[in-house]
């Protein structure tokens, strides 16, 4: 997982520029425990730079995905969510409010046998648990 500092160093190393917008987007990502949407980050940063554009947020998030520093998630709902943890873990997904929570991997994920894989080369796997979060049980 990145830190704002490590990202700024990386920008510098790669000849990119450390702008207030980028730094604040990094900080907003770092401070969120949930899996924010672009708009969530936008709102956070807008509290400090009121006229930042949503486009800049999207560009910066896309850039981070391409740098491998965050991951994009689109299991459910309309908007993409972003995950700052790039190492393997599982997810709880609320069918009602679309909240996503992380689950540490306690046991290795069972692999399908070679007949079933049908030539597929698996690079990563994850478990999705669908259900209702504590706030959405009625």
């Amino acid at each position: 997982m990145f830190t704002t500092l490590s990202l700024c160093e990386r920008l510098h190393r790669e000849g990119k520029k450390v702008t207030p917008q980028r730094r604040l987007i990094y900080q907003a990502l770092e401070s969120k425990h949930s899996h924010p949407r672009a708009e969530d980050i936008y709102e956070d940063v807008r509290a400090i730079i009121p006229d930042i554009s949503l486009g800049t947020v999207y560009k910066t998030l896309r850039e981070l995905v391409e740098m491998g520093e965050i991951m994009e998630i689109k299991y459910y709902g309309e908007q993409s969510r972003f995950d700052i943890i790039t190492s393997p873990h599982n997810h709880l997904i609320c069918i009602k409010c679309q909240k996503i929570e992380d689950v540490l991997r306690q046991v290795p994920i069972p692999e399908p046998d070679s007949i079933e894989k049908n030539g597929f080369r698996i690079r990563q796997s994850e478990i999705l648990y669908w259900g209702y979060c504590s706030g959405c049980q009625s």
Copy 2:
């Protein structure tokens, strides 16, 4: 898993109408082994009814999802895919061509412990295997 016949009976039972468009969309879904997008179904049906509209395909697929007869999948890529198998199973997803294949569930999926679940009530779970399909290994 539905059959075209069972769906037509259900339409009849619920006061809906059995139209050639619906019947052909059902057949197209039934005949596809992959997880088709709306456009894939559209192309199939268009071979027989050249002026069917994409809108009708979308409406019919949405209706089937709401009837619980198929499931919508949006793990990856831009477009939704549709899964005619509604019983629990896992998925192989090709990172390159976005193909999705089914995997039978050989072993039950490990559950997170109650501490980690954090009040979540799990209704269903599935494993996603990300990688490269046989045609996309280079």
